[in-house]
């Protein structure tokens, strides 16, 4: 009796499981077609000599070797790390500061929040083209017009080797910082105001309250956003593609842009393009692993 019931029960359970998987099937099929299979396929393709969409023959690591031995790869790799460095320098602390400032305002808070979020809604491509007019080296470039009011002669910006990556990062930060600031604001709103009151009674000034209460409260969030920022900057591609075409002299060429060039830049070398993609994936995986390692250690201490 008992076993019969259990059997019937487990039969119903199996049916329920089956139906549940059936409900998830369309979504899983799409994930497979658009995300998982292409990821595995790019690993396979990186090991083959390709002609257009055909895999001609297995060549082991030859694609990797030939990609890595080209000068533009070293340049793109260095540039990509340079993008990451500048992005952390310019774009990491700024949203925290913005959140801190806007969080302290009383009147107009929702206006400030709305206004700083606006650039994030604009299409990334349109933003890049719009800013190209700002940094144009012509007399009509907006920055040159503004500097002209201070009697500074027109400069050229995007053709300067040392300026081009910081400029692209400034544009990306202009677009994204406000949205990130709102995430920090939500994190900061989680601090109980009584803590500030208590600290004030103990004689802690505003600066010390920020340093000892507010910032520790968002430390974990900042860690998560840091790694997400690194991962997203590492894939920077269309920004230099549209703004500078990777120039001047490959000074802004990124790894993902190199991948795009191999695949769609005329040569249609999908094998080599996949080799670059696999290298980027590996670097991203290593970074994620390092992050989760430190994250786990930190949770152990808590």
């Amino acid at each position: 009796m008992q076993t019969a019931r259990r059997k019937r029960f487990s039969g119903a359970r199996a049916k329920e499981n089956f139906h549940s998987w059936l409900i998830m099937l369309p979504g899983l099929a799409l994930m497979t077609f658009f995300v998982w299979e292409p990821l595995i396929e790019s690993i396979r393709m990186s090991l083959y000599k390709t002609r257009n969409v055909e895999l001609v023959r297995f060549i082991g690591l030859d694609n990797f070797i030939s990609v890595i031995n080209k000068d533009d790869f070293t340049q793109a790799l260095t540039n990509t790390f340079s993008y990451t460095f500048w992005s952390l320098l310019i774009g990491f602390v700024l949203p925290i500061l913005l959140a801190l400032l806007i969080g302290e305002t009383v009147r107009g808070k929702s206006f400030f929040r709305t206004a700083v979020y606006l650039p994030n809604m604009l299409p990334g491509l349109a933003v890049i083209i719009l800013w190209s007019a700002f940094f144009s080296g012509e007399k009509s470039g907006v920055l040159n017009i503004l500097l002209g009011h201070l009697n500074i002669p027109p400069q050229s910006y995007l053709t300067r080797y040392e300026l081009v990556i910081p400029i692209i990062i400034v544009i990306a930060t202009w677009k994204g910082a406000g949205a990130t600031a709102l995430i920090y604001m939500a994190g900061m709103a989680g601090v109980n105001p009584e803590l500030y009151e208590a600290a004030a009674i103990d004689g802690a000034g505003v600066t010390r309250r920020i340093w000892h209460i507010l910032l520790p409260a968002i430390r974990k969030l900042a860690g998560t956003l840091l790694i997400l920022q690194i991962i997203s900057v590492f894939q920077i591609m269309y920004e230099p593609m549209v703004l500078t075409k990777g120039g001047p002299d490959n000074a802004s060429l990124s790894l993902m842009q190199l991948m795009w060039q191999y695949a769609f830049g005329g040569s249609m070398n999908y094998g080599k393009a996949s080799a670059v993609a696999v290298i980027v994936t590996l670097i991203l995986l290593i970074m994620t692993a390092i992050y989760s390692y430190f994250n786990r250690r930190e949770s152990d201490w808590d």
Partner: protein, 289 residues
């Protein structure tokens, strides 16, 4: 003094100190400065659109000579953007529907139904969120070509049904729903699909709204995969056209700025309608992720 309570680090009594009052003034100044920096480029590009080519390259003034909308009309007709707007509209509509249905059902399976082995799928989706889709754009494009789906909206629509971030947002929302409601309807004899459409979906309006807004904006702004799939054909969207202009440099600088303005109008409208959801709701959702 004020009816609104201070919620930040600075408390009401701090304002008695003149140094804090000065600091607060500085904060307001910096906030206003930030707003100007955030909004100025947008206002500039709209104003620049009123200039013709000669004025655009030669005049150092930010303000155009006249506010006659003529140049916008000319560009609109000359580039035939109406057609691209229609294409974008169709592309966005299908993408939103796919984003809600497919990611929603997958999220429902993982967040509520939890069949045997669902954890593997959940883990896979978590990892996929960190892996960018552009990284595998080459094999994806080959797959689409092999299935003869080039020059069609279908692959673009369906690509929005496979978004790891949307799935995770759905899962987090569904897991926060009280399980008693779902248990009760299960005892009442509803099957899983009935539970989804009668119980879960009506409760999920907030998350559906958030994901719909995200998907509208993402699908409108998207141009890499759309470019590969639609290039050269009749179905090009506004963003694909803009990308082609920017790479081939076939249009003048002033026309380009007007095309940029056209591409920004729908997101700006969306922003003004949904600013409350965008600046409050999404953040509270995003924070958990």
């Amino acid at each position: 003094m004020t009816s609104i309570r201070r919620t930040g680090v600075i408390r009401e009594y701090d304002m008695h100190a003149s140094s804090v009052r000065f600091g607060y003034g500085l904060i307001i100044f910096l906030c206003i400065l930030t707003v100007i920096i955030a909004v100025f480029p947008l206002i500039w590009v709209i104003l620049a659109g009123f200039k013709d080519l000669k004025e655009f390259v030669s005049s150092p003034a930010i303000l155009p000579r006249s506010l006659d909308p003529e140049p916008f009309m000319t560009t609109w007709n000359q580039l035939g953007i109406a057609r691209n707007y229609l294409n974008s509209l169709i592309s966005v509509a299908g993408s939103v529907v796919c984003a809600l249905i497919f990611n929603g059902l997958l999220g429902y399976g993982i967040g509520i139904l939890k069949p045997r082995g669902y954890r593997i799928v959940k883990r896979l989706i978590m990892v996929s969120m960190l892996m960018p889709t552009t990284i595998s754009i080459v094999p994806l494009f080959m797959n689409i070509q092999n299935l003869n789906l080039g020059n069609s909206f279908v692959p673009l629509w369906l690509s929005y049904g496979a978004n790891a971030m949307y799935v995770i947002l759905f899962i987090q929302f569904f897991e926060s729903l009280p399980s008693s409601i779902i248990e009760a309807s299960r005892i009442d004899g509803c099957n899983q699909l009935q539970i989804f459409f009668r119980i879960v979906l009506p409760l999920s309006k907030p998350i559906c709204a958030v994901i719909a807004i995200f998907a509208v904006n993402a699908a409108w702004s998207d141009f890499l995969l759309p470019y590969l799939v639609l290039r050269g054909g009749e179905l090009q969207t506004v963003m694909v056209r803009l990308f082609v202009f920017s790479t081939e440099q076939t249009v003048n600088a002033d026309t380009m700025m007007r095309a940029v303005v056209f591409s920004m109008i729908p997101p700006i409208i969306l922003f003004f309608i949904f600013q409350k959801q965008l600046t409050e709701n999404t953040v509270s959702v995003g924070i958990k992720g």
